[in-house]
Structures are given as C-alpha cells and as structure tokens.
C-alpha cells in the first residue's frame, strides 16, 4: 500500500503521532541529562540515546506530515519536510499530543528512575516497531525496520545497566527496585490504545493487537529483571482510563510543553 485510504487517514496519523510523541518526550527528558549524568562515559552514551529518540521522532513527524498533506510535497521522504515536522513537534496544543503519561513525567533527576524508564520504554518501542515493520504502508514498514535496529541496541544498553546496578551495591539494588516499584504501574499507560487503533490494526496498517504486544514486551522485560535481581508485576488493564494516548494529560505536561516550545513560540513561522 502506497497511499492511505482517506477514511483511515486520521487514525493512521494518530498512530504515527503516538509513536513520535513518545520518542520526542522521552528523548527530550533524557537529553536534559547531557552534562549531568553520574559517569562521563555514560553521560555520552545516554545523550546518544536521547539523540536517537529525537531523530526517530523527526522521521516519524515527517512521515505524518506527508500523510496528512499528501499533495503538499510529492516525493518527500520520511525525514523530509523540516518545518512541517517542527510544526508537529512544537506547534500543537497539549491535547493534540498522544504520548503516554509514562514518558512525559519528570524523572526528578534520579538516575535510577531515568534508567528504569528507558529500559521499559525501549522494550515497548522495540515491540511496537516490530509491529510497525509489518505495516501494509510500505514507507512506514521501511522506516520502522530501520529504527528497530537502533531500538534493539538501546534495549541492550539499558539492560546492561539494569543488571549492573541491580547487582551492584546494596544501595544501588534498593534504588533500582524503588524506581521499578514506582514506575511499573505507570508503564502500563504505554499500552493505552489511541482512538482508531483497532481500525488501523484490522486494516493491516498496524498488524497485531495489544494483548500480543503486551506479551512480547513482558517476554523481553522479565528475563532482564530476573537477571538484575529485580521484581515487578505488570497487569494490562483491558479498558484503561482515557490518558495521554487520547490527549488527556496532566497539568505538569502543559508546563513542560511551555518550556519545550518557549523559543519556538516567540516566532512560530520563523526559521531558527
């Protein structure tokens, strides 16, 4: 499939935005550690992961822009139209962002929280990109396959740290477990469906289903937690309350968006 049927277009754009917004917000949060991480070597590595996430978001926004305005730029590739991607990244009201509550929360500059969140997100993103790489829309399938390779290396990196700190000192193990206890319930917000998810799924644009993806995710997460000596119980809510995936965000998210868009909003039409 090279074009999206008109009646599925809005649903499909929501799919792309939910992935891109997760990546933008996670990358945004993580990039804030640049220069402040506990060890210089890891500062550099963590910053590279943040940059990957933002670059992934950029590519997905580009694709979303070209799908929403198919005539605007014939032949624009996924990383295509920078102003259109920026307008999606910085120019929407809070309710138009479809990221999960899990990625937008402040990590309180707690390295354990930052790491555990990264790990759970990387595993989720790998499972989601796996699904997307089977999309019937070829440009998305190709992009997802490319991003999946990087995502898997993120997951490997995060897993290594989880085990190292989970099996480090008594203090590091306790901090990692505390972070996991705090984050495990919120991680479930990653699985909240966006409006129209079933429709794009059954049309083959997002093949698979939530329950299967949840199992894939657990199969990736649980062995690493076991190796790290950490424990968590995850339960998927069959009918989750309306949250980030459907544009319902906390007041803190608006404040965060104000910060992220502070300069952009000074002159939204201008080049920066």
């Amino acid at each position: 499939m090279q074009t999206i049927p008109a009646d599925l277009r809005d649903d499909f754009v929501r799919l792309l935005l939910s992935v891109a917004d997760d990546k933008l917000l996670l990358g945004h949060r993580n990039s804030d550690w640049t220069g402040l991480a506990p060890i210089l070597e890891e500062d550099i590595a963590f910053s590279a992961l943040a940059q990957d996430e933002i670059a992934h978001a950029q590519a997905l926004y580009g694709l979303a822009a070209s799908v929403s305005h198919p005539d605007a730029r014939a032949g624009a590739d996924a990383s295509g139209d920078a102003p259109a991607a920026d307008a999606l990244a910085f120019g929407r009201p809070a309710a138009a962002y479809l990221c999960a509550a899990f990625v937008e929360a402040d990590d309180g500059f707690d390295w354990a929280v930052a790491l555990v969140r990264r790990f759970l997100c990387d595993a989720f993103d790998a499972a989601r990109l796996q699904r997307l790489s089977g999309s019937g829309f070829a440009p998305l399938a190709h992009l997802a396959a490319r991003l999946l390779r990087e995502e898997r290396s993120h997951l490997e990196h995060a897993s290594g740290w989880l085990v190292r700190l989970g099996r480090g000192t008594t203090e590091s193990a306790a901090r990692m477990q505390a972070a996991l206890d705090r984050l495990a319930p919120a991680a479930m917000t990653l699985f909240e469906p966006f409006d129209g998810e079933d429709r794009v799924a059954s049309a083959g644009l997002y093949p698979g289903d939530r329950a299967t993806m949840f199992r894939t995710w657990r199969a990736a997460v649980e062995p690493v937690l076991a190796r790290a000596g950490l424990t968590a119980a995850f339960t998927l809510d069959p009918d989750p309350p309306r949250g980030g995936r459907r544009g319902v965000h906390s007041p803190a998210f608006s404040a965060q968006l104000d910060e992220m868009c502070e300069v952009f909003r000074l002159a939204p039409e201008a080049a920066w």
Binding site: D86, S172, E259, W272
Partner: protein, 341 residues
Amino acid sequence: MSGSANEGVVVDPMIREEDPQRLAEFEAKMARGDLIEADDWMPKAYRDAMLRMAEHHANSEIVGALPEGEWITRAPSLRRKLALTAKVQDEVGHGQMLYRVSQDLGKSRDDMLRDLITGKTKYHNCFNYPVPTWADIAMIQWLIDGAAIMNQKTLADGAYGPYVRTMKRINMEEAFHFRSGEDMVLTLMSGTPLQRGMCQEAFDRWWGPALMFFGPPDKPGAEHLPPMRWRMKTVKNDELRRRFVNRFAPAAIDLGLRIHVVEKDGHGSVIAKRPDERAVRDAATGDWGYTEPDWNEFFRVIRGHGPCNAERLALRRFSYEQGHWVQQAVLGRRAGLPPAA
C-alpha cells in the same frame, strides 16, 4: 571548547633540584621540537604545570557543558535540539579525553572532579556568565567556540604529545560547533526584528567575555616564562586576541551586528552601552581596533565572584552527589562525598 592561559608557575628553584643531565636532555628535546610523551622523563615542575593546564582545560569542558545544556530542553527546532545535544555531548567527551591526559600525569579523575566542586581548581572564566536567551547559545557557539578553536590550534603546536593529539581531535569537533554557531547567528540576523534584536543583545553580552577568552594582557617577557618556554603555550595572549578581533569584528559588522562597549551589573546584564569607536580597521597595519574589556571584572570573576560561579559549581556538585551511588556500584569507589560548600 576552551583551554586557556596557564597562570605563572615558579620554576627555577624546582628545576635546580633536577638531575642536570636529564634536564639538559629534556631541554634539548624541547629545542629540537620533539614531543614529550607521558612515560618520558620530565622535570617535576613541567609535570605539575602540564597537569594543571590539562586539568583546567578538562574542567572547562565539563563546566562549559552546563550553560548550553540549560537550553537543550528549549531548543526551537528538532534540528537545533539534536545539534545542541550533540554539541554538549561533544564537550563532555572533550572533558573525558582531557581528564585521561591529566590522569596519566598523576591525578585520579575522582580527585579532579572533587577539587573542581570544592573550588580548589578552576575552569574557564567565560562559563561564569549568564545565558538568558536562545541567541546566547548561538553567540557562544560562534564567538566562544570560535575563540577556542583559535587558541587550541596553537596549543596543538605544543610539546606535550598526549595533549597535542587531544587538541587535534577536539579541534575537528570544535570546527563543527563553530559552523553551527555561525549558521544560528546568520539565521537570527536574517530573521524577524525580534530575532535580530535578541542576537544583538546576546552579542553585546558575549563580545567582552570573548575578548577576555585569551587571558589578560601578557606579562613582559612571557616568552621566557614556563608556559611558552616549555611550549605548553605557543602564542601570546595579546597576539591571539589580535587575530580573533581581525577575524570576528568584520564578520560581526558584515552580519549587521554593532560592536558596543558595555557596562554590566553584577548579574552580567548589560545596563549601558555605546558604540565602540575603536572598532575600525587601521589602514596602515590592517588590524582592527577594539576597546579593552574590563579587566577588573575579569579578575573579580576569576576569584569566584562572577554572575554564575556559584550556580555552575552547585550544579556540578549536584551531578556528582546524585550520581555517587552509581559510581560506587560501577567503579567500586570508596571515596566519600566532597565536603559541603
């Protein structure tokens, strides 16, 4: 970015205790232009001075990451956000490389990080100024990274092999920062009146610190003092400053910026400014003129009383303390936390 004048080191009494034959060999190597390597014999005073220089430079890289890091979350486009994150990441990488050079000269990284936080060692002065707008980010990458490249290119002609090689590597990345800074300044100056105004105000804030970047006017006979005599430094401060002004004054004017002499308050905000009438090209020498920056302010900031000294150190300390449990877990470090400020 960074690297700066090494403050004077008293040498002669220490050299007098060195083995005269080894000292003569060392001086002969210097004279031939050979590189000194970490395992080579060197006078203690040289090792100490080189360590201080590399450590100061490393500190500058990681403290220099802070003011720009503050703006990563506010960068106005995805491209700029990526570039700024990568730039700050590079600076941390420079710090890491330079700490390694310093470690080989005999001091542990942990000791260096702790001495930085407690104020025992210093970092480059220009990071003690505030960064109130996005245009300041553009200006830092253009003027300060530009100044750093000019300085570091001459440091790459020095005599200490590990430092020289590190400078060469760093300079390639700095050139990239500089080009991105130049692009940001150009974009702002081609933008809306608001963007051009921001850019001019940022230029007013950073022109002075950029002139100060190369250190105070040279002491008489600087070429005989250890930093130059031992080729830790190869070009005098005033000469570097002359080259900088000749490159950047006309470039600023071409971009539509005006060069001002400014007066700042204690927070680093500009409270008065007038055009710098000396900022013209001397037809006879070809050199561009400039008004000397406020050297009293320079020494005040060096002594720890700049607008942001306390803030920068507090953030470094915060980073060190919040990450301490990670260091202990990974490196098995026994070190305690640094004493309270």
